[in-house]
C-alpha cells in the first residue's frame, strides 16, 4: 500500500548516495557518531570525572583516530542500538553488540573483535548453576540483549524481568528482584569482581558468540573500511593492549585474554 511504498523508497534512498554515514561523508563532516553504552563498566561507562571510558570506548577513539575525524558519542541502551543506526542517529555502534542472525537481517556487522557467551550470575548464598534451576523463577535481563533473546526463544518457562538499562538490571539483582541475572558473561565477570556476594554460577550457555561493530544495512563504504581497520588493529596488538588497560583490572583470575580477545 501507499505506506509501504513510501518506506521502501526512503530506504532505497538512504542506502544510495545520500547515505550520511559513508566514509566520505564522515570525513567531510569531521566527526563520526558512535553509539556506546554509558553504564556498563568496563566496556562503556562514565567514570567519576565524567569521562567516557572502557574497552569499547578505547576502540571507538582509535577508529576515529584512524579515520582522522573526531568521535562524537551517543549513549544508547541495548534495545535502541538498531534503531539508532536505522534512524541515522549514529554512524557506527560500538556497544557490545553481539552478532545474531536476526540482527544481521536489519543491520550489517563488521569483523568481530570480542568473544562472549551468555552467562548467569546469582547470589553466592543461593547459587544458580544449572538452567533447570530457573524454571518458573524470575530471571533479570536487559531488553534487547542476546541473553533476553536466548531465554525468550529457547527457555520459555523462565519468567523474565526486562529492564531498560544495565544500571537498572544490576540494581534489581542486588535487590533480589529475581533469582539470577543473565547477560554476556564478560560483563558478569567484571561485575562479580566488585560484588563478592555474587557468583557467575553458569559461565556459558547457548552458542559462543561474537561482538562486532555495526553499521547501517547497506553502508558498504563504512563497513569495508571498518573491517580493514579491525584487521590492522588486530595485527598490531591493539586489542590486547586495550584488554590489559581497560578490562584486566576488572576481571578475576578466572578470565584470560584469550577468552575475550579474538586472535
Amino acid at each position: 500500500s501507499g505506506c509501504g511504498s513510501s518506506s521502501k523508497s526512503s530506504k532505497s534512498a538512504s542506502s544510495s548516495s545520500n547515505n550520511p554515514s559513508t566514509v566520505q561523508q564522515i570525513k567531510k563532516r569531521g566527526t563520526i557518531r558512535i553509539a556506546v553504552f554509558g553504564d556498563l563498566p568496563p566496556y562503556g561507562w562514565v567514570n567519576k570525572q565524567g569521562q567516557r571510558v572502557g574497552y569499547d570506548l578505547t576502540l571507538a577513539r582509535q577508529i576515529a583516530k584512524d579515520l582522522k575525524v573526531k568521535p562524537k558519542f551517543v549513549q544508547v541502551n541495548a534495545n535502541n542500538r538498531v534503531d539508532a543506526l536505522n534512524s541515522n542517529k549514529v554512524d557506527l555502534v560500538l556497544a557490545n553488540f553481539t552478532v545474531t542472525p536476526q540482527r544481521k537481517q536489519v543491520i550489517d556487522f563488521a569483523s568481530p573483535y570480542m568473544k562472549v557467551s551468555v552467562g548467569v550470575v546469582s547470589p553466592k548464598s543461593k547459587p544458580v548453576t544449572k538452567v533447570s534451576q530457573l524454571q518458573n523463577k524470575s530471571l533479570i535481563v536487559t531488553k534487547g540483549t542476546t541473553a533476553e533473546n536466548y531465554f525468550t526463544t529457547k527457555q520459555q518457562n523462565v519468567n523474565l524481568l526486562k529492564f531498560d538499562s544495565k544500571t537498572q538490571q544490576f540494581n534489581a539483582l542486588k535487590n533480589n528482584r529475581g533469582v539470577a541475572l543473565a547477560d554476556d558473561n564478560s560483563y558478569l565477570y567484571a561485575w562479580v569482581k566488585n560484588q563478592p556476594k555474587f557468583t557467575v554460577g553458569i559461565k556459558s550457555i547457548g552458542p559462543k558468540q561474537y561482538i562486532a561493530p555495526a553499521v547501517k544495512k547497506g553502508n558498504k563504504s563504512l563497513l569495508n573500511w571498518t573491517n580493514k581497520d579491525i584487521k590492522k588493529l588486530n595485527n598490531n596488538g591493539f586489542f590486547e593492549k586495550d584488554y590489559n588497560s581497560q578490562l584486566k583490572p576488572y576481571f578475576g583470575k578466572e578470565v584470560r585474554p584469550s577468552d575475550i580477545v579474538i586472535k
Binding site: 534495545n79 535502541n80 540482527r103 531488553k143 534487547g144 533476553e148 528482584r177
Partner: protein, 220 residues
Amino acid sequence: MSSWQIIQQSLPLFEKGFILTLWLSFIGIIGSIIVGLICSLLKYFRVPVFSQIAAVYVEISRNTPLLVQLFFLYYAFPVFGFKLNAELCGIVGLIFLGGSYMAEGFNGGFDGVSKTQVETGKAIGLSRMQLARYVVFPQGFTLSVPALAANIIFLIKETSIFTVIAIPELTNTALDLIGMYYRSSEYLLVLVIGYAIILIPLSIILTLLEKRVRYGAFGN
C-alpha cells in the same frame, strides 16, 4: 515478514500488556481517589497535624516526576531493606502521584462552591458538618468532576512510565519487542492503537458524564 504478520504475531503479548495496563490503572485510580479524598477532607475539616502532613505530601508528590518516584521506590528503598515487587511499586507510585492530583481536584471543587452558598447555609443555622454534608460536598463534587476526569486520563497515561521498573505493560511490551525484533514502526503503531482503545472511549464517556453532572446540578 510483512508488517501485518509482525503485528499479528505480537498481538498476544500486547494483549497481556493491555490487560495489565488496564488493571494497574484501575487500581491506581481507585487508590488515588481514596487518598485524594482523604487528604481533601483532612484539609476541609482542618484536622490538626494530619492536614499539615497531607499538605506536605501533596506538594512533594505534585512537584516531582513519577519516574523519579518510581526509581526511588524500586531501586533506592530496597537499599534500606524496604522492598516491594514491581507491580506493587508501580501501584504505590501511581497512587502516591495520583493522590495529590485527586486531592487538588477535590479541593478545587470544594473551594469553588460560592461564598454566598456557604453563608446562606450558615445563616439557616447549619453546623460545619451539616454545611459540608448538604451544601459544600454535593456542589463541590459536581464542580470537581472535570478535574477528576482529566486526572483519570492523566494517570492512565502515566502507567507508560512503569516500563522503567520492568512491568510488562503496554509500553514495556512494545519497547521489548523493538529491542528483540527491530520492527519499531509496527510495534509503536500497535502501542498507539492500544492507548487509543483505552483512552478515546474513556474520554468520551467522561465528557458525557461531565455534561450530565453539570446539567444535573447547575442548570441555572
